[in-house]
């Protein structure tokens, strides 16, 4: 029983950390809450459903195509809405409100096209779990854990080693300074949307293989990622730690109270952190001198 909880914690945490990281990559360079990310996440699942179930493409081709489409969706939103807004010197609040609008628009579009009922792409995949160390775990859940580890390592390397990664850090620290030193912030932001959206699409697909899909699956999952990002301090290592904390609290919380309270548990943790340690696990002090 205990092993099962450990595995569940790992699965939940892996998922939250992919979402959290994919959101943080965008948030770091743009500094506004891109809520539409939730629908980009959902789109990964529905694109896969479309290509695999409706068009009859092979599963791997469908997944690849779906990730590319999610990436393109993210970039399209950046190019057509956010970039023009930034050009008008829009505040982060305006960008946030626009992102909420796009979220509502696209989420309802998915509802309208595919219906509100649960859709499944699991049929071709083995559903039965296998026994590992006394816990039942399905192959897709193992894939979720492995993917999350690989993604985290690759991203850390990317941000540290590559020129683009360093440019992303520079823009995250100070947009104006980065622009002065010859970095095109618009290009860097577009790249962060590409990476973040592809990751979100991937996460959406993984979730769909694990527990099926509904048009509204995105917002709650995204919020868990955002909580992981804030609690972690907007830093990749911090997000992983925070995701583990959240996964642990939610899965072991079930021992004491019913599983319906999982969301509430996460948000209570968030509020505690915001009040008492707003910079998160690893973050620098966020509050700059405001005078």
């Amino acid at each position: 029983m205990f092993q099962q909880y450990i595995f569940n914690t790992l699965i939940t945490s892996s998922l939250y950390s992919i979402i959290g990281i994919s959101f943080a990559i965008i948030y770091r360079t743009t500094r506004f809450l891109h809520f539409t990310h939730a629908v980009v996440f959902t789109s990964g699942a529905y694109f896969t459903f479309l290509f695999y179930k409706l068009f009859g493409f092979s599963i791997y081709f469908s997944i690849t195509l779906a990730i590319i489409f999610s990436l393109l969706l993210g970039c399209l939103i950046e190019k057509s809405i956010y970039k023009p807004l930034r050009k008008k010197q829009a505040s982060s609040m305006i960008l946030l409100l626009a992102s909420l609008g796009i979220y509502i628009l696209l989420q309802n579009l998915i509802s309208m096209i595919f219906g509100d009922d649960t859709k499944s792409i699991r049929s071709g995949v083995v559903k039965e779990g296998i026994n590992i160390l006394g816990a039942r775990i399905t192959p897709i859940q193992i894939i979720i854990i492995i993917t999350s580890v690989i993604v985290t390592i690759l991203l850390l390397l990317f941000l540290k080693k590559t020129k683009t990664g360093k440019a992303m850090k520079a823009v995250a620290n100070d947009v104006e300074l980065a622009n002065i030193s010859g970095i095109s912030s618009n290009r860097v932001i577009l790249i962060s949307f590409a990476i973040g959206s592809a990751l979100a699409g991937l996460a959406g697909i993984l979730v769909a293989f694990d527990v099926d899909m509904t048009p509204t699956m995105g917002m709650n999952t995204l919020m868990m990622g955002v909580v992981a990002m804030i609690v972690g301090g907007n830093n990749i290592k911090g997000i992983v730690c925070a995701a583990l904390l959240l996964g642990f609290a939610q899965n072991f919380g079930v021992w004491y109270i019913s599983s319906q309270w999982q969301d509430a548990i996460a948000f209570v943790i968030l509020i505690i952190f915001l009040l008492f340690k707003p910079e998160g696990f690893y973050g620098k002090k966020l509050r700059k001198q405001s005078v």
Binding site: L96, G101, L275
Partner: protein
Amino acid sequence: MTYLLHIFILIGIYIILSLSLNLIAGYTGILSMAHAAFYGIGAYIAALMALNFNSPFILNLFLAVIGSSILGALVGIPSLRIKDDYFIIATFAFQIIIFNILNNLVSFTGGPMGLPGIPQPVIFGIKISSHFSFLVLTAILCAITYFICNKIVKSPFGRILKAIREDEVFTKSLGKNVSAYKVKIFMISSGLAAISGVMYATYITYIDPTSFTLMESIFIISIVIIGGAGNLKGSIVGAVVLVMLPEILRFVGLPNSIAANIRQMLYGGLLVVFMLWRPQGFIGEYSFNRNNENG
């Protein structure tokens, strides 16, 4: 005719919601994603009182406003420490926690099954049951809410709210206790939102948590922004437009299954369009143009 009265009652309920949110978002410049939570708290307090104790409507209304104000303070106080984006996320969290409570405390709130059979209001011995009498009551409550909000925003108290919206640091340097003002306006706004909740609960006579979701909060924000933040008349315009518009679509003959989606897409789309070209809304005086001070 009944249908038209129904729409007018709904507009009235949303006017109260958007007027009250305007005090926080439009006048004080703080975005809150938790307004539907207060709407819900008001509805549930009144419904539970009426169902369990058969208490009079006026008392229920009073308790709903007080209860919601106290919870409003609970959201307002963190706003002193948590800023900008993180505060928005915190209100988001509050909204979802309240929804969870309404949905999960089945023995108390009825959970997803909701609370059926809420008695209709009786005021000074007059039973409010026809659509027309409900419309009159809603209109009176709307007028009272407008009067209160108008008094506030036209007073020196309101002047400080606007100053906080534009420049908190400067407002502090003028000796104003910014924190106290924020908490107070949160309490007023939440209390007023509860009025809508009470009206909704006693009008429909049935409530369940799905009426008080995050999406509902976003809808109320959209009304405030599209109508015009920082202008009380804007909230009225916004409520009329956003409640009427989907009803007009109904006459185009859209099938019911997609009408709900179209309705939402419409206001989602409007929100984007307004942010791009008219962030101050139809007749607003504030366009959320202040950037994050922190982070």
